[in-house]
C-alpha cells in the first residue's frame, strides 16, 4: 500500500471512528460513513423556523451546545459599527428574571440614564464639545448605573452555568455570524435549553454603558496594542471602501460611544428571531430527548423576520493600494490582500487548496522558500477573509527577518506566483496538500465542540449542515490546472492591497527598516 492509499484509508477510518457511537459500530452490518456527508445528524425544524442539528458521538458524558445567529459586522449601518458585538456582550447580562431582583425598577433607571446619554451624544457631535459638560454627564450616567445595579444580581447567567460544571462558556462575533457556545455534563443538558430559551425570549440589556467601556478595552487589547490587529483592521478598511467587510467588527470608538439602548433593542429584535437561529448539539445525548426539549423550550418563540439582505457590492478595484501603519514594533511586517470571490464561486475550492499549498505547514512553497531556503522571513501565513459569503480577500502575511525588507519578500512572493502562472503544481504536490487539509479536518472533528461549530456554521451560513463537508469534497477534487487558473485569474496587481507595519523610530514618526 503506498503512502497515498494508506492516508486515504486512514482518514476514512478515522472519520468513521470519530463520528459513530460505540453502539452503532458494534453492529457488524451497520453502514460505515466514508465521509462527513453520511453522519447520523438528526435535523429538527420547529414550526417557527428554528433549526436544531443533533449528533450523538462517543466519549465522556458531556454535551457541546452551539447556537449561531446569522448576524455580524456586515449587518451594521455606518455609524453603528460594533453593534452586533456589543449586543453579544449584553446577552450575557441576564433576562427579565435572571440577573435581577426587580426588573421594573431597573428599567426606570435605564430611561433616566439613556436620556443623559442622549444629551452626551449630542454634545459629542457638537462642533466644539464642552468637555466639562461631557465629564459631568459621564459621571451622571455612572451614578445612574450604580442606582440600577441595586436591583441586579451580577453575572447570574454565568454563575448558574458555572456551578453546574459548564466549560468554555463564551461567544464570538464575526463579519457574518454571532455564535454562543458552552459544554455541560450530559446529565445537565436541559439547563442549556431553559437558559438559552429565556435569553432569546426576554433579554434585558442591563449595564449597557459600563459594557461599552469593556468593549473599548477589548478593542485596545485586540487592535490598538497589537501589530497584527492594527494591520488587519487597516487592510480591510482600505481593501473594502464601500462593502461592510471594511468595517471593524469590534467597532470604532466613536460609534461604540454613541450606540443607544434603543439601537441595541432594535438590532436584537431584527436579528434574533427563531428562524435566524441555528443550534447544533453534539456529544453524549439522546436525540429524541433533545428534540422534545427543543420543542418544549423554543417552540413558542416568534419566528422573526428573515435576515435582511446585504446588497452593497464593492466596486471593482482599479489599482494597487499601499498603506503604511506606524507602531512601536521591533520590525516591519505586512499583509497582502488580493480580491477573490466568495465561497459560492467555482474557484473557491482551488483558492482554499492554494492557501495550503503556499503556506500550509513546513513543506509548503512559501515556507520552504521564504523561511528555510532564502531565510527572508520568520513566518508566512495564507488565509481568506474576513468572511465567506461575499467577495473577499486572499491574505498573505509575512514577518521579514532583519535585515530583509517587505519589498524583498514581496519580490520573492511575486516570483512564486509567477511560477504557478507558468506551470501548474505537480499532481503529487496538490495531493499532499489535499491530504494535509483532510487530516487536519478529521482531527478537528474529534472534539464535540468542534463538530458543533461546523454543523451550526455550515447550516447557518451556507444553508445546509452538509455544505462544509461538500466543500471539502470539492477541495479534494481540485486539479493542478485549477490552481494555475485561479492564480492567473485573481492574483493581479490591480486587485492588491498591501498594508505594511512600520516601526516607530521617534515619537510621532515612522521609518521603514
Amino acid at each position: 500500500m503506498n503512502g497515498r492509499a494508506v492516508m486515504a484509508l486512514a482518514l476514512a477510518l478515522a472519520l468513521a471512528a470519530v463520528l459513530l457511537p460505540r453502539a452503532v459500530r458494534a453492529q457488524p452490518d451497520a453502514p460505515t460513513p466514508r465521509s462527513g456527508l453520511e453522519l447520523p445528524v438528526r435535523e429538527v425544524v420547529l414550526d417557527n423556523g428554528m433549526r436544531f442539528f443533533l449528533l450523538p458521538r462517543p466519549g465522556a458524558p458531556t454535551v457541546a451546545f452551539v447556537v449561531q445567529y446569522r448576524v455580524g459586522g456586515v449587518d451594521e449601518a455606518p455609524g453603528t459599527t460594533g453593534l452586533a458585538h456589543l449586543l453579544e456582550h449584553l446577552l450575557f447580562k441576564g433576562t427579565t428574571t435572571i440577573g435581577t431582583t426587580d426588573v421594573a425598577a431597573e428599567r426606570a433607571w435605564f430611561a433616566r440614564m439613556d436620556a443623559v446619554h442622549d444629551s452626551l451624544r449630542h454634545e459629542r457631535a457638537a462642533p466644539t464639545p464642552d468637555t466639562a459638560r461631557l465629564a459631568q454627564w459621564a459621571a451622571r450616567i455612572a451614578a445612574l448605573e450604580d442606582s440600577a445595579r441595586a436591583h441586579t444580581v451580577p453575572n447570574a447567567f454565568d454563575r448558574i452555568l458555572a456551578r453546574n460544571g459548564a466549560r468554555g462558556l463564551n461567544a464570538s462575533t464575526t463579519a457574518e455570524a454571532t455564535t454562543y457556545h458552552v459544554e455541560l455534563p450530559a446529565n445537565r443538558a436541559e439547563l442549556w435549553f431553559a437558559l438559552e430559551a429565556d435569553r432569546m425570549r426576554s433579554p434585558v440589556f442591563r449595564e449597557l454603558h459600563v459594557e461599552r467601556d469593556v468593549v473599548l478595552e477589548e478593542r485596545r487589547m485586540r487592535v490598538e496594542t497589537t501589530p497584527g490587529g492594527l494591520l488587519h483592521e487597516a487592510l480591510l478598511a482600505h481593501a473594502f471602501t464601500i462593502h461592510p467587510y471594511g468595517q471593524p467588527v469590534v467597532g470604532v470608538p466613536s460609534d461604540l460611544e454613541a450606540i443607544t439602548r434603543a439601537q441595541v433593542k432594535a438590532h436584537h429584535r431584527r436579528h434574533y428571531g427563531a428562524r435566524n437561529a441555528t443550534v447544533a448539539i453534539v456529544g453524549d445525548l439522546d436525540p429524541d430527548q433533545m428534540a422534545r426539549w427543543a420543542e418544549e423550550y423554543f417552540g413558542d418563540l416568534p419566528p422573526g423576520d428573515p435576515p435582511p439582505l446585504v446588497t452593497t457590492r464593492e466596486p471593482e478595484q482599479r489599482g494597487r493600494r499601499d498603506i503604511r501603519v506606524v507602531f512601536d514594533a521591533g520590525g516591519p511586517s505586512a499583509l497582502l490582500g488580493w480580491r477573490v470571490p466568495s465561497i459560492h464561486d467555482d474557484d473557491a475550492p482551488a483558492l482554499a487548496v492554494l492557501a495550503s499549498l503556499l503556506a500550509g505547514g513546513r513543506s509548503s512553497r512559501l515556507h520552504r522558500r521564504l523561511v528555510d531556503q532564502e531565510r527572508l522571513v520568520t513566518g508566512v501565513t495564507a488565509s481568506m477573509g474576513p468572511g465567506e459569503l461575499f467577495p473577499r480577500l486572499f491574505i498573505i502575511g509575512v514577518t521579514p527577518r532583519s535585515p530583509h525588507t517587505v519589498a524583498e519578500v514581496e519580490a520573492a512572493l511575486a516570483h512564486e506566483l509567477e511560477a504557478l502562472r507558468r506551470t501548474p503544481p505537480s499532481p503529487a504536490e496538490v495531493g499532499r496538500v489535499q491530504r494535509q487539509i483532510e487530516a487536519g479536518r478529521v482531527r478537528r472533528l474529534q472534539s464535540s465542540l468542534g463538530l458543533a461549530f461546523q454543523l451550526a456554521g455550515s447550516a447557518s451560513l451556507l444553508g445546509d449542515w452538509r455544505a462544509t463537508f461538500e466543500f471539502a469534497e470539492r477541495m479534494a477534487a481540485v486539479r493542478p490546472v485549477d490552481i494555475q487558473r485561479v492564480v492567473e485569474r485573481h492574483f493581479r496587481d490591480d486587485r492588491l492591497t498591501v498594508v505594511t507595519l512600520v516601526p516607530r523610530t521617534t515619537p510621532g514618526e515612522g521609518a521603514a527598516r
Binding site: 494508506v6 484509508l9 426588573v103 458555572a162 496594542t225 520590525g331 513543506s363 527577518r401
Partner: protein, 500 residues
Amino acid sequence: MRFRSIAVFLLLLGGGALDPLPAQRPDSAAPPPPEGRSLVEALTFPPLHFDPPPVREAVVLGVPVFHLDDPTLPLVDLLVRFEGGYAHFPRADYAAATAFPSLLRGGGTRARTPDEVEAGIDSLAIQLTFGSGGGALSSTLNTLTETLDPAVQLWWSMLLEPRFDTAVVEVWRGRRLEEARRSGDDPATFAFAHFNRIMYGDHPIGWDLTADDLGPAALTPARLRALHRQIVCRENLTLGVAGDLRWEQAVERLRRLIEQVPPCPAPLPPQPEPTLREGGGVVVIPRPLEQSVVVLAHATDLTQADDPAWFASRIGDAILGTGGLSSRLMSRLRTREGLVYSASSFWTTPREHPGLVGVTTRTAPGTTTAALRLTLEMLEEMTRTAPTPTEVAEAVAEQVNGFVFAFDSPATIVARRMTYHALGLPDDWLERTVAGTAAVTPEAIREVFGAHLDPSRMTILVVGDPDRLDAPLETLGVGPVVVIDPATPSAPSGSPRSRR
C-alpha cells in the same frame, strides 16, 4: 501494577448533590418567582452514570509506563516525558535546550533527511507534538492503529537519533534572533517576561532568549548532542499509551522501544532554587501604548499537596480571579467598573520551590492607577474576610460538577497520570482533589489567604505610558516607583530576595 477506583468521584457527580445556593431558592412566603428563573431553579438532574476508565501503571525495564485501553476509536496515542529541561543546565545550554522541540521535529534523523522525515509523516497521516519546559522534554504521537508500528518507528528515531541538520539549526537560530528583536511587539508577553526577570533574576524562570544566548557557540552539533545524551536517556523516561491497543499488545512493543533508549550518562543536575524578589514596590517600563499591562505578585511558599490549605487556596483563587466572569476581580473591575476586558489572579504552587501569588490585567492609561487601587483592595479583603458560603459553594460546585471534562479523551487521562507521577503526587490525586475541594470552607480560605497573601509585599509592574496615568503610582502606597529603560529593562538594583 494496579488499577484505581474512583468511587469518591462517582459519588460527587450524583445529580444535584452539590447544587449550592439554597438561599436563592424561593421560599413559600415569597411571591411566585418570574417564569425564566423559576424554570431554571426547578430543574433537577439525574445522576451521571459514568465509569472513568482505569489507567494501568507498570514498570517496564525500569521505566514507568501508564496505559489506558480504549478501543472506541482505531487510534493510538503514545506519550513520552524525559526529565531534563533548560532549568537543569547552565545558561550556556539555554538556547540548545529551548531548541530541542523544533529540532527533533524538523531536523531529520540519522537515517533520513528533514524532507524524508516530512514525507514519512505525510504518508502515515500521523500527528506529532514536541514540547519542552524548564523541567522536561515531552512528545506525543497520534496514529491510526493500522499504521502503529511504522509510525512509532519513525517517531522513535526522531527522538533517539536526531540529525540536528545544520541548515535547520541555522533557520531556528535566525528566527529566534528576530523574535528577540520583536520581543516588545506583544505588550503582554513583554510584560510577563520582564516580570519574571524582575522576580526571579538570573534563575532559569527569569531567563528570556536574547541575542547573547544565540551566538554561534550556543547551537553547535557537539553541544546539541551532549545535551541530547543527558536528557533523552532511560532513567529520565516516562511512557504513556492510550487508545486502541490492549496491554498485551502494548507491552512487548514498549519493551522493544525502551531497549533502544540508552542509559543516562549521569544523574540530571538539580534545578537551582530560585531566590525571589522581596520588599514590594512599583516598576514602570515606559511604552507609548494605548493600554497598560499590569502584573503584580509576591513570593509564596505554599506547595501543592494533599493539604486542606492547598485546596482552600485553589477555591479561594477561583473566587478571587480564575473563576471567569463571576470572579471577584472580573465582577468588580469589568462588570461593575468597566475598567478592563479581562483580569485574572494566579497562585503558582510548585513542588520544589516558592511560587507567586498575584494578579494581571490590562486597562487604558487613564484608568491604570484606579484599577490597581481596586485590585489591591480586593486582595486585602481576601486576607481579612472569609468569602461567603455561597461563593465557596459555587466555586466548589463548578470544580466538582465539571470534573467529567477531565476525561475528554484517553490521551488526556494518561497525560494527567504522567504529570502526577512527575510531580511526585499520589496516583489517586484526582480523587483526592475532588474530596479535598469539596471539603473547603470559607474560613479555610480566609486562613490560607491571611497566611500567604500580603498586598503590601507586591511587586507591581506597569508596562505603558506613565505620562497618561490617572494618578501617580506612588499614591498606591506599596513602595518606591522605579522607571526602567524599555530597551534594557532589568531588575531594579538592590532588590532584596527571599529564599524559602
